[in-house]
Symmetry: C2
Subunit: 208 residues, 2 copies
């Protein structure tokens, strides 16, 4: 399991996980790579190649055991571990993420939410009080926070990211529309919504 797995394979794992979760919920016990292929609209050979990166997950004649495969991918994705998460930025996007309960099912435990705007301090999102930014450092230490979600405008994002790094945060889920220059051992996953909309715009323009 120590060989290097390509980014493309990793990017496909959550989609396998989603389909297997749906199959499991429907009570499906086994599925062949051909059936999974037609369901997911990728080739059966790609599925087998992807799974071979992790040892293959069982024999092809019988098909895959759905529950086992779901569990294995869950482990590979780190979803069997618990992560403590804070949200920086209590605007609509921060609230949307705070309210998305499904994350907790996957081991991402929402512990606190912070905002620079004094008008929001003391207000509640779910059962969580919005805290001032000054509380952030001590809160991270006391609550063993490993993931910070950045849902603030790009202007403040780099400074906040630096503060997070200094306080030993391990990962940043970054919605601010700016590249964070953090040390290599800090994991960053960017969600740049406007870049996604531009890609859609490009496709629309090409089709006309």
């Amino acid at each position: 399991m120590e060989k290097q797995i390509s980014q493309a394979v990793i990017a496909r794992l959550p989609r396998y996980f989603r389909y297997l979760g749906d199959l499991k919920d429907k009570g499906v016990e086994r599925i062949s790579s051909q059936e999974l292929s037609s369901l997911m609209k990728v080739t059966a050979s790609q599925i087998r190649q992807d799974f071979n990166n992790f040892g293959g997950f069982g024999q092809q004649g019988y098909g895959y055991n759905v529950e086992y495969l779901y569990g294995e991918i869950s482990k590979i994705l780190g979803l069997t571990e618990k992560h403590h998460l804070i949200i920086i930025g209590a605007g609509n996007l921060g609230q949307a993420i705070a309210n998305y309960m499904n994350f907790e099912k996957r081991g991402f435990i929402f512990k606190g939410i912070f905002d620079a705007n004094p008008a929001l301090h003391g207000k509640q999102i779910r059962d969580m009080v919005i805290q001032p930014m000054d509380n952030m450092e001590s809160f991270i230490k006391e609550n063993d926070i490993d993931i910070a979600v950045l849902t603030i405008p790009k202007t403040g994002a780099v400074e906040v990211a630096n503060r997070l790094v200094k306080n030993n945060i391990k990962a940043i889920w970054n919605f601010a529309h700016v590249d964070l220059n953090v040390p290599k051992d800090i994991q960053v996953e960017n969600v740049h919504l406007s870049e996604s909309l531009m890609k859609l715009s490009y496709k629309l323009t090409k089709e006309q």
Copy 2:
């Protein structure tokens, strides 16, 4: 310009656009591929290769003209055209997108917002009244809507997507955590937030 441009190049265009916009705002007139390279942390040769897909955008000795390059990439991305957009789903995420004024600067004009929940009907987001889903079809026709943003749970998303397709929507920006099976001429761009969080989780797990 009619040759096939790779998905990887297209995916990088919005980032070039963002950096060039920042440079333009700072009054920078020209930039070499080397300078852009160190700023964006990609190789100068990748920048030149990417730009060569579109004719190269001017000579290397002088560097690129920032304003011209920004304008050309803007045209390629279709950002000089106007698109009419509706949002389906007036929850936190739908509201976050409705309130993100920057999209309008890029030609994405927010025309209306819809929700299945009667408790929300008549409430306002920006200066827009939340409408019932029954109004959607006639609204699309009367307002020449070409993009729909789906910010609803996965259970209703496939059915709503089919209704959108029947009413000649051209593109769907899909935040629902499900694959939409729409005809090939309908452009879809997916933003699956939980898959993004799983990728972050994977990176965290690998680092431990």
